[in-house]
Amino acid sequence: MKTDYGWEDVATLILYVLSFFLLWEWLRPVEQITETANVHFFIIFAGLSLLLYYFELNWIISGAIKAMFILVVLQYLYFDVPFFGEGEWFGELTALVGESVVLTVQQNWSGVSDLFRSLLFFVLLWLTAYLMHYWLAVRKQMFLFYLFTVVYITILDTFSPYDGSMAIVRVILFGFMLMGLLGLQRMADHERITLSMGQLQKWLIPLAALIAFSSAAAYAAPKSEPIWPDPVPFLTSFSDGSGVGSGGVNRLGYGVDDSELGGSFVGDETKVFEATVQGEQYWRIETKDTYTGKGWEQSREAESLTPFSVNEAVPLTLSAIDEESETQTVSVDVDLTYNHLVYPYAPDQVINGEADELRYNPVSDKVTSYEDGDLVELSEYEWEFREPRYSLQALRNTTGLGENAGSMEQYLQLPENVPERIRELSLDITESEDNWYDKAKAVEGYFSRSGFVYEQEDVPVPEGNEDYVDQFLFETQRGYCDNYSTAMVVMLRSIDIPARWVKGYTGGEVLENLGDGRSIYEVTNNNAHSWVEVFFPEIGWVPFEPTVSFSNNISLNYDLDLDTDDDTTETPEPAETPEPESPEPLEEDTGAIGQVDEDGSSGTGGWTAFKTFISENRLMLFLVSVLLVAVGTGLYRNRNRWMPYVLIRYYRSQKGSEVYPKAYSSLLKQLRRYGLRRKETQTLRAYAKEVDNFFGTHEMSRLTDQYERILYRSEDPKDKWSNMRELWEDLIKKTTG
């Protein structure tokens, strides 16, 4: 056992205490994760072991103390009799251990007694403490253990209910302190210095301050949300496919299978595509017609897909084409490629795309791309489309199907066991309306009027015989797009209005306003959306947006008043009423369009001009900056080649007494760049000799001699420069080679 203690031992004690804290972090989650009770005994044991190692007690004594501790704890935990006196607990204990050893050998894990497990855990801790002692006292390295601790905490935090958010802060604090101190000890060892209190303080105080400051800054600083979704639900949803699991999170971006809706919607910033288009559009992918009570399916497979090619009209008519509507183009730049194409309302033709054939599915409205008869994923394509306008009068005139009833059967389908109260509610809502359009508007607006809540998380999956829409309408009254759109379709169908469920993306976020009124929109998986189309015999399919808006950073805000506003203002000329087909947030809409208009028409503002210039010359600017960086890097890396000439010119023009010392310092720096580095413990004279040997001259020694006189003899450097300049120039030129 040690007897004399110095400051070094104080440092060592701190090390042991810090490593005890680290070890503690390993034990903290044990209680929660493995449901082990009385963890504090293990913690005390870990501390005890480390303390005994710190005092460097004889191994027999320390071993005896630890064994005794284990025995006492086991006795206390597993036997009700007192430690001394009556009771054959010790015999029982040995019997239990022996039995468990046999069971372990037989790999009968479940039969092993708790007592034996506790014993093993103690032994494990004993070993760990020894290992830490070895790392601390012999190796003086702790990084590996620290790394493992961090990994351990992060894994537990991620994959288990244990919340490691404070643990990680503690681990950082203790771990860095520990490694910093060990670093000092290693250095002292290496240099064979005995640590004094002053040195310890000199090291400890800045170290502690640094760690405290950075941790505090890191703790207080705003942290961005994780770029990856929480891996557990992500992995579950990935392995299960979407739509399975009770109450689990399962919706992620665009999926094909909608047969079981419900569950939380996971936010995901993965970019799907960029669209360059005038004004925000809804991006359609496909529709589904059959409601199962749990989700959506297709009533039938399409017998054949309708082929068409690029620059040929799409065999898809959503509504009667409004000849007055201007033809627009949109180019779609896809990041997350699929073999289907997204398209705006209402597409005319694909004008650009690397596919030799496109096929249209008349059942689902899906457009897929083919190359040599095989499905192909396009990374970019362009659409020509005409934004449809719907005549409000025509819409309002619709009160029944008329002659087309036969073909609409699939859009009026409902499962047999749909609860009657859905129909009752629908009738109730639409009671005062006489035409289909107003009825649809009434249903569309019902959700926001009745205080339904937009909610992505904590959305249940209907269980047993429960109906998805029924659960949403009458029980939960919260949900995301799937809930609202499905509910509206089912409600409309229950009152005999043909409707269908549409999937796609919302407009996305504006990345950049181009000068010509077009903007680049970024569409991410967060924009994956579903909405409703209602069939009007005279007009066609008209989209509706029932999902209530939320002032949320997820861009799923919809404004329902827009339509009503339009209705009222446009009432004097009902025949000509333009109906924006995709409801959008009012402010955002006007804001965006206003800005675009301003950009396009005036263009006088300097800032606008500047922005336009930037966006028009992006590639150019990028190339120029790359070039500048490259040239800069090249110049910097080769500075020892041109620097001497700069220095020579500079010092030629210099006068005064301080020139020589400065020039000499520059020479030293230049030599260092050249690769002749002076060690800090080397004298100038020795260095000069080295340099002269290298160049085969005596110049450096002569220059150094004069500099030494200034330095160590306090000679006036005034006249030196004129005498030494030529030598100096000679030498510095040699370094350019």
Binding site: R192, S196, T681, T683, Y712, R713, S714
Partner: protein, 314 residues
Amino acid sequence: MYHQKLEQVLMNIERVMIGKRTVAELSLVSLLAQGHVLLEDVPGVGKTMMVRALAKSVGAKFTRIQFTPDLLPSDVIGVSIYNPKEMTFQFRPGPIMGNIVLADEINRTSPKTQSSLLESMEEGSVTVDGFTHKLTKPFFVMATQNPIEYEGTYPLPEAQLDRFLLKMQMGYPDAKEEMEVLNRIQLAPPIDDLQPAITLEELQHLQDEVRKVIVDEKIKEYIVDLAGKTRDHANVYLGVSPRGSIALMKASQAYAMLHGRDYVLPDDVQFLVPYIFAHRMILKSEARYEGIEPEEVIERILARTRVPVHRMAK
């Protein structure tokens, strides 16, 4: 580039001593700095010859004390003898009353006799029967000790070692040098023809001049830094005392003068440190067991002490 006159002294010594330039320089440095030298080496490598050559070159009186276990202090410093004619005690000076004294095998005599020499070295005078007798000036002792003859010796205590400005080894000549030694000795011992290169007065003048050699603040800081690091070093039980720092500065001044400079360079300090610090340090017993020498410790300290090469802010 040496000091003109001192170079002649060195050349004189070199006529006798072959390949011992460093030893000659260090002896001269010690003489100029008014310090004393401890030579530690085996017999027969030319210690005596070295001192005699030095004495002859500066025209100094050379005396020699051969230390034996039975030598008494009075044998060193002198004794008062009764003169029956004049009825008085007369002081008969001992061998210490010379300019250049060779104290041979100093560790073979008793501590009492050792200290009589060392005290007089320190004080520059001897006191016999209540009378103080000044030692002649210049006064320079070159003590030798045999490292192999440990039996029957009285090793010098640390405090006494501190009184020597520097400690050095002669070392064996290499084969070529030894051949040259044989060649020269065959004809006639060249020591007999040596003529003084400088006079004693000139030497004393130079000794005074040494003090005027410029030691910049940065150099002083460097010296203090080095001395301080010997005290903090983990292998060192006892580091270098401030007397050691003083010794290093003085020796550096003398060394600078020898090299014809009136200012000290860090190079001078670096060259001299091992000779001046090594015998003033006591290593820990663990370090000694590991076979670490003080010179190694000094080398390590030099390798991590920054040389001052920047001008201080005014």
